[in-house]
Structure formats: structure tokens, C-alpha cells
């Protein structure tokens, strides 16, 4: 990007990007939070419903299963051999005969049934409720000789009951064994209501299962914490309950006596999965949205910053070239920017106008100063102009640039401005100057520099005005600089000044012919005058043509037509070339 980034302010594109992106990101984040919250709530509701429904189904299935188990028990109780053995057992026992063999028959029949059914405990009790035999892994808790309940209802249907035996709680299904109308015994199927039972149920229910008896959890497929939490609350038959901070759906599967079996489903856990799925989708969508937001923000930033950058580039070029003439190109980025460019163009035009005015004023000042100087002495009238012309000719001969020539011209025009501060008596004195007067004359370069110093736009000419009487041999004034220490412009003006002084008439002498002046220049070249400049002088047409008159007409009307003073005829000024010039004073004294 061409716009130069400053150390302090961030680039517009960055600002726009940051702002747009953060706004979009904030909105997105808000939407995300809202959506996920709402989704979570929805998912939790749905999950709760699902769990409840499935648990209700399972409860129905479980009730059916229990019923079927009862019927199955009834079927098992009809095993002919078993029945025969039990009936015969009673008969023989009542007759006082040994019954060991019958008991072992009963036990082996039970074991056969157990092998088929794989039940935890199978027991046969007599009509008196005393267990005759048991089979199954839990048979140890149902030993022969111990008693079971005998309070059957009238229908002879199976009876479900909860039995505590030796610290274990069983769900017992008791079926009366009948032969004809006679109850000959009792067939008992028992399942321990423990963690394993709960886990087996839980596997089918797809939910955790807890078995609660009198407020105590006697079997559970869940963790210990949940178990403790369940013991602290009363579980509803069906509904939701908060356990351990989580929401749970509870459904009672069955209840027998004081024991009840509940399916407990964690809504929180179930919904976590669904929620995380939704969250994943939301995050992906959010990621894409952010990406689009970033791209959009970038585009927006470019749209805003681009034209501004182009405008800046145009202005930078304009400033670098100092070129105020071309109108600013319209970026077309926005009406505001175009209007800004338009305003700038107006400003530019105003500045150009003001610049032109100030240049005119500047030129006026120069002319005024030069005229004021020249007007003091009719002999020096036009001197400044002529020196300026000659200097420009010399500068051109020395291949100076246009800007340098202009500097040189203005400098030459003003080179004697310091003479404003020299008394007319000294200035216009026709006779030879006293040393004191000469010292006064020698002050004029410093004086000129002092006059021009406040004027900023004469800065380049200060050296010319101040140093145009310095000589290569160091005998010049005011500083006695030597050789190349003297600026070239000052050296040029020095030569031009001397030449014009020599070829102009003075109150005390006539104008010197060009040849004489040239000869004089040649004589003191290297000492008084710079060799390079004199060499250039000798190549000038005014010298090669050898006519002094031509010098006046040569380029007197070039740029400063304002300065048109009546030129003294070479003839009338004959014999007096010296003037208030630097070398002239020396020359005047030397003569």
C-alpha cells in the first residue's frame, strides 16, 4: 500500500477491518450463544420426552415380562414329575415313611428346571411353607427347612413378594402347586434385587435402574453418588427430578410390597451428546460466518481505504513534483471522496493563484530595489540590469541550469543593493576616494546581505550579494576568501560587475572600449578574476564582436523589461570606467 503508515495512527484499512469484523463477530457470538442456549433447552426437552416415552414403553414391557414370568412360574410348577414327587412326598411323610429319596427327586427335578431356565433361585415348599428343596446359584439363601410365606390369595394365582433373606432382598414369585383342587405345595422363583439385577434391567431399559426399598437403594446400575442422591429424595412414579444437580427422568417400572424398581435417565447426559452435535454444527457455521465476515470486512475496508489511498498517492506525487497544475483524479470511490478531491482542487487553484501573485510581488520587490539603487546615480543607471544580463550570459556559457540562471540573474540584479546604505557623497564623488571613503564603499556587500537576509525568498542570492567582491587571490572583501571557496555565482557576478563598470562611463572618466576592458581582465585573471569565468567572458559575442555598444542592446530587454533606464552612450562616458565597484576602487587608486 502506498499510503505511508505512521507510527501512531493505525491504517484505515486495519481500523475498518477491525471494527467491522468485531461487530460481526460480536453479533455472531451473541447469535451463537442464544442459539446454543435455545437448542440446549430444546434438546433437553426432547431428550426428556424421549427418555420418558421409552421408559414408559419399557415399564410396560417390564410389567408384561413380570406377568409372563409369573405365568411361566405357573407353567414350571406344573412339571409332572415334580408334582408327583411333591404329592407323593406328602403322602409318604404323612404315612411316616422315609422321604429322602423323594426329596432328592424333587431337588433333581428342580435342578433340571433351573438348567433350562437359568434362574437365580428355584424353591419348592410344602403346604406348610417349609422349603423342601432349592436349586440355582442363590439356593444357599433358600435352604431346605427354612420357611416361605403361605398367605396366598383365594384365586390360586401367582403372588409377587419381596423377601429379605440373610441381608439379601429377593423378589419372589410364589405359585401354589395344585393337584386337582388340592394345594400340594409352593413353587418359588426368586431373583435377588441387587446391582446385577439392576444392571441387567438397565441394559434393556437403556437407562439406569435403581431398586429402592423403604427409601434405601438396594440395587442400582448407577454410580455411588447418584445412589446417595436418590436416597435423599422421594422418587416420583413418573416425572423429572433433580439429582446431584442434574436433571433426571424417572419412571417406576414396578413396585412390589415396599420395593420399587425405577428407571432413571439423565437428561443432562443424554442431551450433552445432542447438544455437542448441535454445537459442532453451530461452530462450523460460525467459523464460516466469521470467515465471510472477515472477507466482507476486508472488502469493506478496501472499498473505503482504497480510494483514499489513491487520493493520497496522487497528492504525494503532486507534492513531490511541486506540480499544482494538474487537477486531482477522481477516485470514484465515494461522493464524499470526490467532493474532497474537488475541494482540494479548488484549494490547489487558489494556492497556484496565490503563488503567482507572490511571484509577481517578488519580482516587483526586486525591480523596486534595483530601480531604487540605480536611481541614485545617473551614471550607474542600468548597471544592475546590465550586470544581470551579462551574468546570465556567462552562466549560460558555463552551462548552468535554468533555476541557477534565474538565481544568478536576481542575485546580479541585487548585487549592489547594499549601496543604499552608502552615503551619496561617497557614492557620487567624482574624484578619487580617500581611504576612509573607500572603507565605506567596501561595506556595501555586507550591508546588502543584511538588507536581504529577512527576505526568505532571496536566500539563494545572499551569497552573491555578500561575496561578489571576493577575489581568487584572497585580496577581496569582506572575508578575503580564496579560489573555489568563493561561490561560482559570486565569481560570475564579480567579473560581470567589473566588465560593466569598465565599459560604462563615469563622472570621472569615459567608458573604456571593450578591447581595453578585455585586456584589463586578461591582465589580472587568476588574481582579481576567476579564470574559468573570464574564459567564458572571452567567448561571449559581446567580447568577440568587440563592440561595447552591442553590449547594451544585446539582451537588455530580456526578462527585466521593467528596468529600462536610459542608457548612457558609450561615447559620453568615455574615459571613466571606474565606479563604486570593487575592482574599480583598486583600479582607481592604482591609476
Amino acid at each position: 500500500m502506498p499510503a505511508a503508515p505512521t507510527a501512531r495512527a493505525p491504517r484505515l484499512v486495519v481500523r475498518v477491518l477491525t471494527f467491522a469484523f468485531s461487530v460481526i463477530a460480536c453479533v455472531l457470538a451473541a447469535v451463537f450463544v442464544l442459539l446454543s442456549w435455545q437448542t440446549r433447552a430444546g434438546v433437553m426437552r426432547a431428550v426428556a420426552d424421549t427418555i420418558e416415552t421409552s421408559q414408559q414403553h419399557f415399564a410396560g414391557i417390564e410389567r408384561q415380562r413380570q406377568r409372563e414370568q409369573l405365568l411361566q412360574a405357573r407353567g414350571l410348577a406344573e412339571a409332572p414329575t415334580l408334582k408327583a414327587a411333591v404329592d407323593t412326598y406328602h403322602s409318604e411323610r404323612d404315612s411316616g415313611f422315609p422321604v429322602d429319596q423323594l426329596l432328592s427327586t424333587i431337588e433333581s427335578e428342580l435342578r433340571k428346571l433351573q438348567d433350562w431356565m437359568d434362574l437365580p433361585a428355584l424353591s419348592i415348599a410344602g403346604t406348610d411353607g417349609v422349603i423342601l428343596a432349592s436349586a440355582g446359584p442363590e439356593a444357599g439363601h433358600w435352604p431346605a427347612g427354612s420357611r416361605v410365606r403361605t398367605d396366598f390369595d383365594e384365586t390360586g394365582d401367582p403372588v409377587d413378594s419381596i423377601v429379605e433373606r440373610r441381608d439379601r432382598v429377593y423378589r419372589a414369585t410364589s405359585v401354589p402347586m395344585t393337584l386337582g383342587l388340592d394345594v400340594i405345595g409352593q413353587f418359588v422363583l426368586a431373583s435377588p434385587l441387587d446391582d446385577a439385577y439392576a444392571r441387567a434391567l438397565a441394559a434393556d431399559a437403556g437407562a439406569d435402574v435403581v431398586i429402592v426399598m423403604a427409601g434405601r437403594v438396594i440395587g442400582s446400575s448407577t454410580s455411588g453418588e447418584l445412589r446417595d442422591a436418590i436416597e435423599r429424595v422421594a422418587l416420583p412414579v413418573s416425572g423429572t427430578v433433580t439429582l446431584d444437580g442434574g436433571e433426571f427422568v424417572v419412571q417406576r417400572l414396578s413396585a412390589v410390597d415396599a420395593a420399587a424398581v425405577y428407571a432413571v435417565g439423565s437428561v443432562t447426559t443424554a442431551s450433552r451428546e445432542a447438544t455437542s452435535e448441535v454445537a459442532f454444527v453451530l461452530i462450523v457455521a460460525g467459523g464460516f460466518a466469521l470467515l465471510f465476515a472477515a472477507a466482507g470486512s476486508w472488502w469493506l475496508a478496501r472499498t473505503v481505504a482504497g480510494p483514499i489511498n489513491r487520493l493520497t498517492t496522487s497528492l504525494a506525487h503532486m507534492a513531490q513534483a511541486g506540480e499544482l497544475t494538474q487537477p486531482l483524479p477522481r477516485t470514484g470511490g465515494s461522493r464524499e471522496l470526490d467532493s474532497l478531491a474537488g475541494t482540494f482542487d479548488e484549494l490547489r487553484t487558489a494556492i497556484a493563484r496565490a503563488e503567482a501573485e507572490s511571484e509577481a510581488t517578488y519580482l516587483g520587490v526586486i525591480s523596486t530595489l534595483a530601480n531604487a539603487l540605480d536611481a541614485r546615480d545617473p551614471y550607474t543607471a542600468g548597471h544592475s540590469q546590465r550586470v544581470a544580463d551579462l551574468s546570465v550570459s556567462l552562466g549560460r556559457e558555463l552551462r548552468l541550469s535554468g533555476t541557477d540562471l534565474e538565481t544568478l540573474r536576481v542575485g546580479a540584479l541585487l548585487h549592489d543593493i547594499g549601496k543604499i546604505g552608502v552615503s551619496d557623497v561617497v557614492l557620487r564623488k567624482a574624484s578619487a576616494l580617500t581611504a576612509e571613503e573607500y572603507e565605506q564603499i567596501k561595506l556595501h556587500p555586507s550591508l546588502g546581505a543584511r538588507i536581504l537576509k529577512p527576505l526568505r525568498f532571496f536566500e539563494a542570492q545572499l551569497a552573491i550579494v555578500e561575496l561578489h567582491h571576493e577575489r581568487p587571490d584572497g585580496r577581496g572583501y569582506p572575508y578575503g576568501l580564496r579560489g573555489d571557496d568563493i561561490p561560482l555565482f559570486a565569481r560570475i557576478v564579480h567579473v560581470a560587475d567589473a566588465f560593466d563598470a569598465m565599459t560604462s562611463a563615469r563622472a570621472y572618466r569615459n567608458a573604456m572600449p571593450v578591447e581595453t576592458a578585455v585586456a584589463e581582465l586578461r591582465r589580472v585573471v587568476g588574481e582579481d578574476f576567476d579564470a574559468g569565468v573570464v574564459a567564458a567572458m572571452l567567448r561571449l559575442p559581446v567580447v568577440t564582436r568587440g563592440s561595447r555598444a552591442g553590449a547594451g542592446e544585446r539582451d537588455g530587454d530580456r526578462s527585466l523589461s521593467l528596468v529600462t533606464f536610459p542608457r548612457l552612450d558609450a561615447g559620453t562616458a568615455e574615459g571613466a570606467w571606474d565606479d563604486t565597484g570593487e575592482a574599480d576602487a583598486g583600479l582607481r587608486r592604482a591609476r
Partner: protein, 238 residues
Amino acid sequence: MGNARVVAAASAVFTAILCTVPWTVLRAGAAQEGTGPGLGTIRGTVRVETRSARRLATAGVYPGRAVVLAAERDTSELDNVVVFVELSDPVASAPRRAVIRQSQEEFVPHLVAVTTGSTVEFPNDDLIFHNVFSLSRAATFDLGRYPRDESRQETFREPGIVKVFCHLHSHMSAIVRVFDHPYFVIPDRDGRFSIPDVPAGTHRVTAWHERAGNVTHDVRLTGGGSAALTFSLPLADD
């Protein structure tokens, strides 16, 4: 070790017989109903709390060949009662033949009483297979399965209660009571019974029903006489 005891028991029995014989003869003579000298008849009535009908624990397993349910059958709990004299020593008697039919998924009759050495036949009248087996000490047997119109039989050599079942139909059961003497009878439909030719003397007479158990009365029987007994069997209606 047994000799002393046997001698003691024998002498006690002998003494008892010596003491009772004259009294028994006196009683029997008074009754004048005996069929022989020193023999009398025990007769009487048995009352049971009969129920109007028997129920089957299970319905018929062959719906296409519906059996007549027991409820519709003409049965009486009196058929399931046997009245007998308890004797400590066996009395030789002729073997008998008895039949328990397998009819309508029932053993009919439910109860038979026979002397030792008797043979009971078990013909199958049903369209379906039946089986006959027993786990009882007095007779443990399994006659296998057999179809209609076939019959198997079992000879009972030991006195006792023999419970008979069918392996195929768990609700079927029958009882064969085997006595080592001939002094037993199943009452008629009115509950009346008569046990003739019982040696005179004091006897324990028992009426037995599988659910009610034993109801026993002592009776003094004179030769040629008769003794009347009334048994009331407490058969609770469930």
C-alpha cells in the same frame, strides 16, 4: 438282640387274644349277623363336605379334541374315600383286579383299593397318549406312554398308598391303596359302607381321604354281629 423283644411282643399279643376272645364271641353272638362264626360286619356311613364340582387346574391341552371337564362329570368325593380296618398283621387274601381308566384326562376312578398281589389295569380311553407312573415307596413304576385302546397293568405287592400320575398331564392323579388284608371298602354314593367277615374283636377302623387324612374310630365287633360307625370327614371347601 431281637429275641427277647419278639418273645415279649408275642406273649403280649397272646395274652390280649386270650382276654378278648370270650368277649368278642359274646358280642358277635348277640348281633346274630355274622356270616360265619367269629366274624362280624362293620357298616356305617361316611359323610364328607362334598363340593358341587371338581375343577381342573388346567384346561384341555387339545382344543380340537375337547375333553369333558371334570366339572361336568358325575363325581363324588365319597368315591375318594376308603374305609378300612387297621390290622397289625397281614391277612392273606385273594388278589383282585381293578381298573383305572384314563378318560377325559382323568384317572377314573381316582381311587382304587386292592389287596396285595392285585393287579390294576390302566386302559387309555382318550384320543391322546397317556402315561402312568408312581414314585411311591409301595410301588415305584413307570408304565410308559401309550395310545388309545392300549392298556398297561401293574401288580401291587406292597401295602401302602401308591400315588399314580401321568407324565404327560400334570393334573392327572390317581391313588391305589394296597392293603395286606381284605377288610376295606369304598363307600357307595350315599356314603354307606359295609365290611363283612371281619374277625370279631376290637378294631381301629379308619376312613381315609387324601385331603382329609385319617378319621379313626375304635369298634368292638362280636362274632356274627355287626358294628355301626359314622365317619365325618372334615373336607374344607378350600
